[in-house]
């Protein structure tokens, strides 16, 4: 089971000016859509991929696991999140 967490120095906030989730990191900002913000809020080091997908599917239409995996892999390549070992 793979769990993710934000890397040290990366913060997730809700920006009231843009009314959007934003990932803040040493080199800049990533403005998130609603789904992205929901996923990252679950990157707490203890929630595995299947659980995240289930949570999303309750809020939206079914979210394919491979889409979720691609999204998280892309963030990991940008050194914004890392694998956790709970």
């Amino acid at each position: 089971m793979t769990c993710w967490r934000l890397r040290p120095g990366v913060r997730l906030i809700h920006d009231s000016v843009r009314d959007a989730g934003v990932l803040l990191h040493p080199d800049g900002v990533l403005i998130l859509n609603e789904t992205g913000a929901r996923v990252l809020a679950l990157c707490d080091g203890n929630t595995d991929l299947v659980t995240i997908a289930d949570a999303l599917s309750r809020a939206y239409d079914a979210v394919p696991l491979h889409d979720l995996r691609d999204f998280l892999d892309a963030l990991a390549r940008r050194r914004l999140i890392e694998r956790a070992h709970p």
Binding site: R7, P8, G9, R11, I13, D15, V17, R18, V22, L24, H25, P26, D27, G28, V29, R79
Partner: protein, 349 residues
């Protein structure tokens, strides 16, 4: 947002891009004025504050400013030369919510680094500061301005970043403003030096991707391709100087006829949206040929306005770094001179 808290600095680097007639201490914004600036910035939509200078640690109220910015929800980075950083000072900053520290290095070799910075024991204090930052668990970026005197030490700089367990290493070719412009003949590397450094960076990026992020800022003069300066004038970033002037880029104060707005006279949102200074080169309508009909105009924004002014004498000209610029011969001459220039250390004028 870049918050230049002070232009006072204990170092004397010959590549410094700050204005040569720096602001004095008495003209600096007060603690309260800075707090107000951060509040207005957050309301405007600013998400990041880089506490910079000069040397921001020379401001005794730094921790309080960080705390205020952080309470507003801003991401706080300290951009420092590492002098005057003690365990106690850092503990205060951590308690204030500081998110990230960037420390500048002049070279990997202590003697060369101190000669470039113009002061003894500078490098040793920087290494101590870097270790303190890692000990408290903050992400650490090391920033090195590359020029003729240190670009040959790129491998050593990467090794040093690994030894210090830095998270990021920025290797940035010098930008030629302020003292750097005066020292350009002594700073500009030749083509062979630049190629060797870029090869090393590429190799290191491939082998170290999981340990160290290496950010490389290319030399637009050598490339013949202008940099997308500030991602466009008045597009994403603003700088507030020690005295409260608000600039679309840190070097813009030198552009003639720029009616520079100040936070003491106007609200930040008003400055951002409505000031003549922020609208002067915004978008593409101001562009001359060859930019106007160039398919890359939305990518590079015509390059750097300050460089256009300094090299071509016209801030509205195509950046002479661009090989399509009618002034590009100026840059070719600078590069030819660099091929035969002697290796001397640049000191601040």
């Amino acid at each position: 947002m870049l918050a230049e808290l002070t232009h006072r600095c204990p170092l004397r680097c010959g590549y410094c891009s700050n204005p040569i007639g720096r602001h004095s201490r008495s003209s600096e914004l007060t603690t309260q004025q800075w707090c107000q600036v951060f509040e207005e910035a957050r309301e405007l939509g600013v998400l990041q504050v880089y506490f910079s200078g000069g040397e921001p640690l020379l401001r005794r109220d730094l921790a309080g400013l960080v705390a205020h910015a952080r309470r507003l929800g801003l991401y706080t980075s300290l951009i420092t030369g590492g002098q005057g950083m003690s365990a106690d000072r850092l503990a205060d900053l951590v308690a204030s919510g500081l998110d990230h520290v960037q420390i500048s290095l002049q070279d990997a070799d202590a003697a060369v680094a101190d000669a470039i910075a113009g002061r003894a024991a500078v490098h040793r204090r920087k290494l101590t500061a870097a270790r303190l930052v890692k000990e408290v668990g903050l992400p650490l970026t090391l920033n090195v301005v590359l020029h003729r005197a240190n670009i040959g030490h790129t491998r050593d700089l990467i090794d040093l970043a690994l030894r210090l367990r830095a998270d990021r290493l920025e290797l940035a070719n010098a930008q030629y403003y302020g003292s750097a412009l005066l020292n350009l003949p002594a700073l500009l590397p030749n083509r062979a030096q630049l190629d060797a450094a870029e090869t090393l960076v590429q190799e290191a990026r491939n082998t170290l991707a999981h340990r160290l992020e290496i950010v490389y800022v290319r030399s637009d003069l050598h490339d013949g391709v202008p940099k997308p300066c500030m991602h466009g004038w008045g597009s994403r970033q603003l700088t507030v100087t020690p005295s409260g002037d608000v600039l679309p880029c840190p070097a813009a104060a030198r552009i003639p006829g720029l009616d520079v707005p100040n936070v003491r006279q106007a609200a930040l949102a008003d400055i951002w949206f409505h000031s003549a200074a922020f609208n002067r080169f915004r978008g593409t309508a101001w562009m001359p040929e060859p930019c106007r009909s160039c398919p890359l105009k939305e990518d590079d924004h015509g390059g750097c306005r300050c460089q256009a002014f300094q090299l071509a004498g016209d801030p509205a000209a195509t950046d002479p770094a661009c090989r399509l610029s009618p002034h590009h011969a100026l840059v070719r001459t600078l590069l030819q001179d660099a091929e035969s220039a002697p290796d001397t250390l640049p000191y601040r004028a």
